[in-house]
Amino acid sequence: MLEIKNLKIEIENKEVLKGLDLNVKNGEIHVLMGPNGAGKSTICKAIMKYPNYKITEGTILYNEEDITKKSTNEIASMGLYYISQTPVEIEGITNAEALRLAMSSQKKSVDIFTFNKKCTLICEKLKMPKNFLHRPINVGMSGGERKKNELLGMWLLEPSFLLLDEIDSGLDVDAIKIVSENLKEYHEQTNASMLIITHQQSIIDLLKPDYVHILKDGKIEESGNLTLAKKIEKEGFLEKSRVNIVSESGKNE
């Protein structure tokens, strides 16, 4: 489904991704962890063609089609949906205005009656007031409210692949539960694939990913299953180098 081969990304003349390989198959959930600054957000933004992120090498395939040179809106229309670590505020444009235009751009029916009915149901699911729909995009919303607001878009646009950059950060326990349950339900209904970036165990426990990867210094350092996430939670990212130092000094003595 999504296949990244030897991807190298440069931002402002600095190489941030240094040959990344990742393969997410249809319906799979992958979790990506790693220390701050490792390049996790860069992966999502590179896939979505964030301005000034330069692909210097490698390819990104989506459903076997090369999307390395496609534009952001073309990629979105192919079914990829990205929720940023820090969703932007856009003054003047309401969620409803943007989402209806997005739906029509993606050739989805936007008749106002169905749209309203759908939105009412989704807002209930997300435990979000319905008037959010008519508020300017993310303006004056708390961190948690923004993430829910972005999930509203997911339910309406029905993507087949989700790129979720720290969707759980800044959420209180109840909100994490609501968000995870929405993602779980969406996954069950659509079999959408997911690439989830997180620093927290709770969303992992609830979503039970198929794979967990550790990104360090622009490359995947280690891949595994749920136990890898558990190990990271207990021991942190520095663990491997620490073990090396201990065993080396042990040998020397």
Binding site: N73, G92, I93, A98, S105, P136
Partner: protein
């Protein structure tokens, strides 16, 4: 003094749409709400008079093309004004708005957003005048325009305060279409040109009165 002979029109209660006519003085008595403004001819001399205890809320988008407008507002005792204009300018335009706070206890707010079509040229001069010896007046002027290539917009805010007992604020902001906003909209599947159009249209439309609910 004013040598013009004004046509005097009292603004009716049901008049939610108003077509401005040249050389006309609109009198506001009571509470009025205007949701659409139109301008017919090219040259305009218009006065709006808010009588004692009256209130006018006017929030609208306004398309202008080769317009020369002079709008003078007179706020009397205890009156309230909220004038929000989202201006979409074509060709060459000059707008002069003079807002006079002549008596006491007035709350007068003017918000203007301006956007131009390619190769348009718009000058907007907004002046607030707060008369001597008046008390407890609130005045706000908030202007913002979108700066884009090949579009000329000039906003000239001016406030003349002769009273010591007034709360006066004014803002002038120059906006641009942000790359991050375009990216956000594109990441929902919207084409770049459509995204830009939506940003422009909504910038202007945000001045309309939105009913809650």
């Amino acid at each position: 003094m004013n040598k013009l002979k004004w046509n005097i029109e009292e603004l009716g209660k049901d008049k939610e749409e108003l077509e401005l006519k040249d050389n006309t003085k609109y009198i506001i008595l009571g509470t009025r709400k205007v949701k659409r403004l139109k301008i017919k001819d090219n040259t305009h001399n218009i006065q709006i008079v808010l009588e004692n205890n009256s209130s006018l809320q006017c929030g609208t988008t306004l398309d202008i093309e080769n317009i020369h407008l002079k709008l003078e507002i007179i706020n009397k005792e205890n009156s309230t004004l909220l004038l929000q204009l989202g201006i979409k300018a074509k060709a060459k335009n000059e707008l002069i708005i003079i807002n006079n706070l002549e008596e006491n206890n007035i709350n007068s707010q003017i918000k203007i957003r301006v956007m131009g079509e390619k190769n348009s040229h718009t000058v907007l001069k907004a002046t607030g005048v707060i008369k001597e010896n008046t008390k407890k007046n609130e005045f706000l002027e908030d202007m913002k325009y979108l700066s884009e290539e090949n579009i000329f917009i000039e906003c000239l805010p001016e406030i003349l305060v002769s009273s010591k007992d007034a709360n006066v604020n004014h803002f002038l902001t120059i906006g641009t279409i942000k790359e991050s906003d375009i990216f956000y909209l594109k990441s929902k599947g919207i084409e770049e040109e459509k995204a830009k159009t939506l940003i422009r249209e909504c910038f202007i439309k945000s001045m309309e009165i939105r009913e809650e609910g």
